[in-house]
Symmetry: C2
Subunit: 158 residues, 2 copies
DNA sequence: CTTATATCAGGTACACTGATATTC
DNA sequence: CGAATATCAGTGAACCTGATATAA
């Protein structure tokens, strides 16, 4: 009723030196939520979740990567990645094999089915990813990229 | 150990008309994940989760808002919001009372304890939110805001 | 002994779909 | 009747902390 037509707008709290029109952290969350929702809907019916798609993408992008590496890249704990990989293995998208040289490491291999699945996922989400940049100038894109990388790599105040 | 030192970089896949240096959707996810992680760590010890903090913030920002409204604002289902509000109620941060006029609607009231909790949360995350804009020019900030709003409100290709 | 990897065990908040009751 | 609100029921992936075993 009252607030349904405007999904993105500023909280009232009058704090923050800049950006009185809305906390930029709030905008970041909303943008991510909307993007994630569109992605999940695009993937619906493929029997694959967004985290699984992300991990699968990493495994193909960085062949031979370890589970611990995936965890660091994804900013997740090794345990969580282990569960996601286990679910991928259960559906036959990947196979875990003992590493040839390094005894403790598990080599995560993406199967033929896994690659087929990934290709399907990519074709489904292509339009959504392309739409992220429509109507944006080159300068603006650079500013956005710079900011996203800054936020992603910003050191913690600990 | 191969990829641990660079948490943000481009997957190899050579697709996408622009942004060969990394899918911007990937950067968005990484930025959000890093920000969420910092927020969760800042809130740790306060016995409150990030979704609870978000909902609590909305309830204070938009007094009298309904659960369905919160769901639309948060891009969540009404059922999910109901669970989050129930957890907030269980800890005494909010109270649900039948709406005076509209019979079916529940009025979600933020208690004194809830407001105290929210104030604590805000002081904890203030530095993190401020850091989102350090080193960013006014022009860049505007470009980032424009893009975030665009992504958040972009119509779905359905 | 220290570090890194991987997994098991246990737990919980979150988020979904589906069904139901109520109110306008 | 339909549309909106709220909740119950059931399910599951995801995410955590803590403990354990193995290997470099």
């Amino acid at each position: 009723m009252s607030a349904s037509s405007q999904a993105v707008r500023a909280p009232r709290a009058g704090e923050g030196k800049r950006g009185q029109e809305g906390h930029i952290g709030y905008l970041l969350r909303q943008a991510n939520a909307a993007h994630r929702l569109r992605m999940e809907r695009a993937l619906s019916g493929l029997e694959v979740t967004l985290p699984q798609f992300s991990v699968l993408t990493m495994l193909v992008a960085y062949p031979g990567i370890s589970g611990a590496d995936v965890a660091r890249l994804s900013l997740l704990t090794p345990q969580t990645v282990s569960v996601i990989v286990a679910n991928l293995e259960r559906m036959g998208a990947v196979a875990r094999r003992p590493h040839q040289i390094h005894g403790r490491i598990q080599h995560i291999e993406v199967s033929k089915d896994g690659r087929r699945l990934l290709a399907k996922c990519r074709s489904r989400v292509k339009q959504i990813e392309d739409d992220l940049l429509t109507g944006i100038s080159g300068d603006e894109e650079q500013a956005v990229r710079r900011w996203l990388v800054k936020v992603a790599t910003q050191a913690e105040p600990g």
